[in-house]
Symmetry: C2
Subunit: 162 residues, 2 copies
């Protein structure tokens, strides 16, 4: 890998709605309704600011936004965080960017007083890299709800204490 | 128990905000922020109608609203329902009303095509009757997230296939 300038950005801009749409679309495996939800979270943040409960970190390579995470304190909990989204643009996959973005996200959650991070994903085959990603980064498989999303499509919960 | 007229009502009225506040306050063990959330769900239903995603059943005894359930299809799932709230006024506890309200709620979820009902509660001692209520009604303990709400206050997940 050549030397590239990688930086984090936490301020959310209107154009991030398009960045997020492009990033989550690029993998080709999210459903349209899931993509819409991802974009709506950016919109909520832009409208309501911190009151939205959604925090973002955008990862930029040479000034281009190529990955992002979205997370927040879970309502009615004291210090449990939900990692709603973490995604890297398909054309940047395999460069370890997801890992450094996840580490930065965990650092920020800990700095906010967070004590645990919950991540939900699916049992479907196409999410195997996602599950491996969490496991390599020391997330623990905590629960599995059979047929949660649909027949044969289970919900899988991961947790990491921070 | 004397013969009383028990009926269900699914239409939500503005005065249900007060009914819900009174019912969930009566037990004395919900936090104010939790009570506010319960009332907000009624408000969302009144504002947005079915688009809110929140369904309600109110149980009336002699025309007085004494218990209610709030539930809805979980976003991004095909037929999984979340039982957000089920509560009976303290002065009506022990009369089996919760049980018949739960049965009616399950019947309605099944009629809507629901295949599973998820209920979340806390591990705290005061929720022991809640957990026993689910277990007596054939809900299965599915997962436990330690220290989820706070130190020593775990999240407990129950599920029932319908």
């Amino acid at each position: 890998m050549e030397i590239t300038k990688v930086s984090f950005r936490t301020g959310v801009k209107p154009e991030d709605m398009e960045h997020v749409r492009e990033i989550v679309t690029s993998s080709g495996f999210f459903y349209p309704v899931e993509i819409d939800v991802a974009v709506e979270l950016v919109e909520e943040r832009l409208k309501q600011g911190e009151a939205s409960g959604y925090e973002f970190i955008f990862l930029e390579v040479e000034g281009i936004t190529v990955a992002y995470s979205c997370y927040g304190l879970i309502s009615l909990t004291k210090s449990s965080y939900d990692l709603y989204w973490i995604a890297t643009h398909e054309n940047q996959r395999g460069n370890g960017l997801g890992r450094i973005l996840l580490a930065e996200t965990e650092r920020d959650i800990a700095a906010r007083g967070g004590t645990a991070i919950y991540a939900e994903t699916s049992s479907r085959g196409q999410y195997l890299p996602t599950r491996m990603f969490y496991e390599k980064n020391n997330y623990t498989l905590k629960a599995r709800f059979e047929d949660y999303y649909d027949q044969g499509d289970d919900l899988v919960f991961y947790v990491k204490k921070v």
